[in-house]
Structures are given as C-alpha cells and as structure tokens.
C-alpha cells in the first residue's frame, strides 16, 4: 500500500455532549458535534462535500447518511454509510482520504452518534416495527449467531471473555493484569472533565466488583452512554488557511476475519496483526516510533491483546507490559487510552471508537488538560475493533 499523493489531514474535531444526554437523538447529537467541529477549524458548512456516517441503531433508517445530510442541510458530492462496529470510524477516515485523493470530494465530514443510554428516538423505532422489547442494550448484549450462539445464553461481554480466558490459560496472564488495564484507563479518565466515570479505582476494586462474565467484573466492561463526534478531513493545501494545525494521516490498515466468536481461528490473536502491519508499512514507521496509542478498549482484554498484535510487545507478554500500569499510563513509555476510552470515558455503542480518534488529535495538538498531556507527542496510533475481535482498523496520526 502506498500513501496518498496528496498530504491529507484531520483538521477539525467536535464532540457532542457526552454521558447521559436525554432528549437528543443521534442526528441531533451529530449536529451538535458538527457545529463544534466546523467551529474548531473554521470550515463553512457549505464547503463540506463528503459525508461518511456510521448509521445508528437507535434511529434505524435505511439511508442514514442521506437523512443526516437532509437534517443539517448538507449537499455532499460523496456520501456513504459504514458499519463495522467499533472499527467503523477509522475506516471512514480512510474512506475520506481515499475519496479526497481521487478528487471525489475535498472536505469530508465523518460523524457518528448514538443515544444508547437515553434511547432518544428509539420510541419511533418501536412504533415503526411494532412491539419490540424496547431495550436497546438488550439488543446489543444478545449479539451472536441466532441459531448456534444465542440459544446457549451467550452475551457480547461473554464473547470477549472467551478471549480473556484463553489468553490466561495459554500465556499465564492474570486477572490482576487485566484489572490493571481498567485501573490505568480510569486514572486517565479521572483527569478528563468530560469522562463519564472519574472515580479512581484499584485492582482490588476491580477484582471485587460484581462479576459479569468471568474473568470480567463490572469495571472491565464498557459503559452505556449517549454521545457522538464529528471529524473534518481535507488536504494540507486546503488546511493552510484553517484555524488549527493539521494532524497528518500517515497510514491506515484494516482486516476482517469473521463476525461470530465461534469462528475465530485464534482466541489470543486478533486481526490487528494484519491491520497493524499494513498501517506501519504505509506510514514507513515501526511501533518504536509511536508516542501513545489510543487502543480500542471495549473490555479489559482488548487493549492487552492489541499491544501484542500491533507489535508493542511479543505475543503472550501483554500481561507483563500492562502490569503495575507504569508503562501504559501518562508519563510511561506508551500511554494508552489517554481519555478513558470505552471503559471510563464514553461508550455509546457504534460511535464508541470515534473518541479514540478525537483524543489522538487533541493529544497531537497538545490541547488536553496538562495532567493528561503526553509529553511532546509526535506520532499516535489509533485502533478500532468491530464485532468480537472480528474486524480491526488502525490509523497512524502525526504532528506536522
């Protein structure tokens, strides 16, 4: 893979209100994020000519991006809807870069928002489809093959737990090490004023919390939130007269292996190996060049396996890497999930991974609270995971 001939960058970001936001459906949350992203970079709405959305389960609509464009009065040349779970937004950024490179648009908007906590807009869906159960989290939690997984009482959390237990059995990874991932991520969230959970926790707190699906306890599982974000991507040329310095997209990678956990070839290694190799090759970089990593963190095992698969440590050594938290916290050799991630910052379902991108941009612009700021960051890696380690996307971003 070669990089784009045009130098392409993220130039604007905006986040909606996060956490519990009653009364704002996903379109409205995206509108709020869009206004903030336009304001962030100084692009006029009428200049946006590419729009990539993720759809939203809470307002299920067959042509999501068309309805969103109508809602906010956008009339793009290029538009698409992408839906590969938490891996969606990175692929949307890459789609934007590709469309810009091909001349199909010049200024692209990537947006995603969901009302997973307040279900704003969901009542319309129930009206549309008749007597649905009315609980969207129940829909999410029961994700699985309807004939060969769901009848056995599997859950989304339980399916990630299958990876955790296999990793523990094969490499001696301990539950304490997994718990440390949640503890370190919460520590970052404690310094983030917008994070949904900011109360610091200890490994003992995690170990003693309510069991959900072994080995995971409550603190090792993503939050349920409302929220969304918007990202503006364009060329360096166009970025010249914008408000903020561009954050360059150096490389991207993606890999899909299956949807259902049952069909995973490996319960210790993820598609991040392939996505990471492609991403580093495109950027001409190695893991040693990365100053921080916004690794997707839907459950405590996810960043641990990702550290190994992206080559930050050897296979099986993820547990030792995260132990004590020193290496993965701000000030350590590779701070991860510096905003608090899905575990402590915000997890509205489909949009959850978009905040890993906006956080990486903020870090590279040195715009976060001083306590949370990675020292002099030049390169950040962002990852997204869709399904049950089914699809992984990766992005390397750099300060110019």
């Amino acid at each position: 893979m070669r990089r784009w001939r045009k130098r392409i960058a993220i130039v604007g970001i905006g986040e909606s209100d996060l956490g519990t936001v009653p009364g704002k459906d996903s379109y409205e949350l995206s509108r709020q994020a869009l206004i903030r992203a336009l304001d962030d970079c100084g692009v006029r709405k009428s200049e946006v000519d590419g729009v990539m959305t993720s759809g939203a389960f809470s307002v299920l609509y067959p042509m999501h991006s068309l309805l969103f464009c109508e809602y906010v009065g956008l009339r793009p040349r290029y538009t698409s809807v992408m839906q590969i779970g938490g891996a969606t937004h990175i692929l949307n950024v890459l789609t934007a870069a590709n469309a810009i490179e091909a001349g199909m648009c010049e200024i692209a908007l990537i947006t995603s928002a969901e009302s997973l906590r307040s279900f704003a807009g969901f009542e319309r869906l129930i009206r549309l489809f008749g007597n649905a159960s009315g609980d969207m989290t129940a829909v999410y939690s029961a994700i699985g093959h309807p004939d060969f997984e769901v009848p056995f009482g599997t859950t989304l959390i339980g399916q990630y737990a299958l990876y955790a237990n296999r990793h523990m059995a094969e490499f001696g990874t301990t539950h304490e090490q997994l718990a440390q991932v949640a503890v370190s991520i919460r520590k970052h969230a404690s310094m983030h004023p917008q994070a949904q959970k900011r109360q610091e926790i200890s490994v003992e707190d995690v170990m003693n919390a309510k069991p959900i699906a072994s080995p995971f306890t409550k603190d090792e599982c993503s939050l349920i939130s409302d929220g969304g974000a918007a990202i503006i991507v364009t060329t360096f040329e166009r970025a010249r007269d914008l408000k903020k310095k561009p954050v360059e997209i150096l490389g991207g990678g993606a890999k899909t292996t299956q949807e259902h956990a049952t069909l995973s070839k490996s319960f210790t290694t993820s598609p991040a190996v392939s996505a990471g190799n492609d991403c580093f090759a495109m950027a001409g970089l190695t893991p040693a060049d990365v100053d921080f990593a916004e690794l997707y963190d839907c459950f405590s095992i996810t960043p641990l396996i990702s550290l190994e698969d992206f080559g930050f440590c050897k296979k099986g050594e993820g547990g030792a890497f995260v132990e004590s938290g020193k290496r993965i916290e701000i000030g350590g050799e590779l701070p991860i999930v510096t905003h608090g991630g899905c575990l402590s910052h915000c997890h509205p379902g489909l949009p959850s991974g978009i905040f890993h991108i906006t956080e990486a941009v903020k870090q590279l612009r040195c715009e976060v609270e001083p306590a949370r700021q990675v020292k002099d960051p030049k390169v950040g890696l962002v990852s997204g995971v869709g399904g049950i380690f089914s699809s992984v996307t990766a992005l390397l971003l750099a300060k110019v």
């Binding site: 056995f152 339980g158 299958l162």
Partner: protein
C-alpha cells in the same frame, strides 16, 4: 415443555439435518465432498470452496474446551434462573469448533483443555440442543 422461554434456533432447509441429528441423539457435522473440509456453522454449502455438495458425518461428539466463560449477568430474564452458567467453545475431535454450554459440573471447575462429550437436551418438540459434559478419557 411449553414454558421454555429461551431463544430457540430456527430450523431452515440448510440446518435441518443438524437439528434432525440432535433430535436423534447424533451430532452430525457437515463435510464438503468437494474439498474435504469439515465446517461449522452448519449450512448447505462449504464456506471455503462454496460447493453445495455437502455430506453429514456422524461425529464422535467428543472434544476439548478451547475456551469458556462463566456468565453471571444473563442476556435476558429467560436465563436468569441459570446463572452462573458456562458458555464454552469446544474443539471437536473432527476439527470444527462449536459454541455450547458445559453442564453437569460446578462452573468454577471448568478448565481450558478439559475433555468433554456431547449430551442432548430436548427443549421443545422440534429442538434438541447439543450440550457438553466432562468426559474422562481412560
């Protein structure tokens, strides 16, 4: 049996032989006659070579626990009375991997690598679910 409230699989033309097998106490696994591959989930075509020439093999019903989890928070009220219960991925002797429950043993005694064998649990007129219990190799 009418009070069985948990989700049930649909029987389709593609999966009928599998469910018919379970009903008769056999774990039938699809095998592609064209490329020789055994596969799971059951289907009317081979996911590797896409051939529709599918045979059904009467498996030994034996395997080992590849990985598992103990579910404490159920997906719905229908499973509430069962918690804690084990969801496991089983490596079948013949090759394919399937997801099921390990029963007949306290959940905390289940281990990765544990040998298991299939048992059949009749849950409705049409559906018998394949589950697994520990199996001592002599």
């Amino acid at each position: 049996m009418s009070e069985y409230a948990k989700p049930l699989p649909d029987i389709t033309e593609s999966t009928k032989p599998f469910w018919e097998g379970c009903k008769a106490g056999k774990l039938l696994l699809p095998k592609c006659r064209s490329c020789g591959q055994m596969f799971f989930f059951p289907n009317h075509f081979c996911p590797e070579c896409l051939s529709e020439d599918v045979d059904w093999i009467d498996s030994s019903g034996k395997g080992v626990v590849h990985t598992f989890t103990i579910i404490s928070r159920p997906p719905s009220d229908a499973f509430a009375a069962d918690v804690p219960y084990v969801v496991a991925v089983i490596d079948l002797e013949e090759g394919p991997r399937m997801l099921s429950n390990v029963i007949g043993i306290p959940p905390e005694h289940v281990r990765v690598g544990m040998p298991v064998e299939v048992v059949f649990e009749r849950v409705s007129e049409e559906i018998t679910l394949p589950k697994f219990r520990p199996f001592d190799r002599v």
